[in-house]
């Protein structure tokens, strides 16, 4: 029995013939195979680790370094890891006018967008539950908004909502009797249903609806998969007992779907919270739609203030992490039971 090489982890199987270990692990040929597997494993995983480490992990660490330095696009060539570190970026960013607004907008956008997407996805999944001719095709069509390129989707929406020649305003003014065309994507007028001011601009409502439209297929897909796994016997029994459709949904289907809805909520919330493309392409962040991601881009490119951009991005990630942790703490436990 030779001493294992320095690369093998401590407690490897080939050491002392302790009877317990021998019984469990030590069989002829087994350890050599295990060692070879380990070596092959490292070999095969190395390319992935290298590229993810270099292009994802290191950059994230570097963001921390940038956030504590005065880095501007103009003096970029002179900055390294070693420099003058300070908290200035964070204090500037957190106290700058508009940051809190952007944060509130991000929250409203993510919560409402997530709710819209999951709500619409649930309606679609339930409506398409019973088989009919052509259902497969209809289901496939439901996924188009999600797979279509975001740039094309936003471009069509901006054209459709255009106040001069957009089709929505055309039919709004001719058929629905709107007095004036609505500037869906540039109006900062707050919407106030029943006289209650919600502090949500018309444009923000439009981008929320866009998010609901674009992401509901994702929820639809997951909920459809879950619906198919519910045993039919449960509902058949309820029908025999005289339960109406809404009662069956409330007491049989919904409890089965809740774990999936909880997972979807986390996923959609995270992605909507981080979303940059949709709002940048629809409104450019104007008219009360500036979310933090768009603000970070603005600092990075238009102001050339890399340090402040990095600090803001970190604040965004930190808030997201806190929110998700709280959510998982609140609802994670009950999930395991369900």
């Amino acid at each position: 029995m030779t001493v294992s090489g320095p690369t093998a982890p401590a407690g490897a199987t080939e050491e002392a013939p302790d009877p317990v270990q021998r019984d469990r692990r030590y069989r002829p040929g087994r350890s050599a195979k295990a060692r070879e597997d380990r070596r092959t494993g490292y070999l095969l995983i190395t390319p992935t680790v290298v590229i993810v480490f270099a292009m994802v992990v290191l950059p994230i660490l570097w963001t921390f370094s940038l956030a504590f330095q005065h880095v501007r696009l103009l003096n970029l060539r002179k900055t390294g890891f070693i420099g003058e570190y300070s908290l200035d970026n964070f204090t500037n960013v957190l106290t700058s006018p508009g940051f809190v607004d952007a944060l509130v907008t991000t929250l409203v956008y993510s919560v409402a967008g997530t709710a819209c997407a999951i709500g619409l996805g649930l309606v679609a999944a339930l409506a398409l539950r019973k088989p009919f001719r052509g259902r497969g095709l209809v289901r496939a069509c439901m996924l188009i908004p999600y797979v279509a390129p975001v740039v094309a989707a936003t471009f069509v929406w901006t054209t459709m909502l255009n106040p001069q020649f957009g089709i929505v305003n055309h039919y709004g003014t001719t058929l629905l009797g709107w007095n004036d065309p609505i500037a869906f994507l540039s109006s900062s007028k707050p919407i106030s249903p029943f006289g209650i001011n919600l502090h949500v601009s018309q444009s923000l409502l439009t981008v929320i609806l866009f998010e609901g439209w674009r992401s509901f297929p994702f929820a639809f897909l997951f909920l459809t998969a879950r619906l198919q796994a519910i045993p039919e016997s449960l509902e058949e029994a309820a029908v025999v007992d005289g339960a109406a459709p809404s009662q069956r949904f409330r007491h049989i289907v919904l409890p089965q779907l809740l774990p999936t809805i909880a997972v979807l909520t986390v996923l959609r919330f995270i992605w909507t919270f981080n979303n940059f493309d949709d709002i940048y392409l629809l409104t450019g962040g104007s008219a009360g739609t500036q979310v933090v991601a768009v603000r970070v881009y603005d600092y990075l490119i238009n102001r050339g203030d890399i340090g402040a951009a990095a600090a803001q991005a970190l604040v965004l990630a930190a808030i997201l992490a806190v929110l998700v942790t709280v959510y998982l703490k609140l609802f994670g436990r009950s999930e395991e039971v369900a």
């Binding site: 982890p9 908004p145 740039v151 001069q164 039919y171 998969a225």
Partner: protein, 291 residues
Amino acid sequence: MTTFNRDAIERRTFAVLRPAIIVFLLLICLFPFYYMVLLSFRPLESVLRDPGALWPAGGEVDFGTYKDVLKSPEDGGQGFLNFIKNSFLVAIGTVVLSLLVAIPGAYAVSRLEFFGRRQISAIFLGVYFFPSILLAIPLFVFFTRIQQRGTLTGLLVVYVAQVAAVSIYMLRNYFDTIPASLEEAAAMDGCTRLQAMRHISLPLAMPAIASNALFVFMIAWNEFLFALLFLVERRENWTVSLGLSQLAGSIEVPTTVLMAGSVILTLPIIILFFFSERWLAGGLTAGAEKG
């Protein structure tokens, strides 16, 4: 007078409501894309004169917009043919490279017992939930400093790193379903691990690899943020997405011409999607049951 019967009333309501909802959903999913195609064939003057038309008037169909959008700027066009070439290069390159990296990685994570194997997949998946704008900052700085920003290669490397995590996750789930006994049998016959992987598991995993390739292609083709950050100053390197978004802001290019550009951007994705819809839907929800 019949008695109040909740069941019957609800059944009748839903019998009406259900088709109505399905029609509504189809409308919101398909109409924007129909409108896209419609505008791409109509001359601009006619769109301005009659914005509400739901189909082109007789003899109005005009393919000139496609010619305009594809021609190079020197010939008075928008140069989309070049953008298409760039998008294809980046997307195909991302698919090939990410598969080369992710197939062995996924196999290792699924099959081989090594230190840190579980943590690796968890860390990789965590990457997926990170704000891409956060990642964009250091990558923007880094590629500016090594003077590779503005090149398609730089973009390609970033894309591969971004999709590697998802690819490994999708492929690993599939490798997990292939019985290990098949490989053990091959090992009996004297195959090494790598041979067994190449000759047994890889061919069996082909459906998953193909759907993963399509998935990655779609991500790379649709991607916008990094293309914007990296390529915006180099028009000759623009992707279709970036080109469309940049030209959409200018007044000189007619909307109908850009609609033709949108169709060109969307069509490959829609074709791929309908071609592979069954696989993709399965791939996307893989693991949903466990969640």
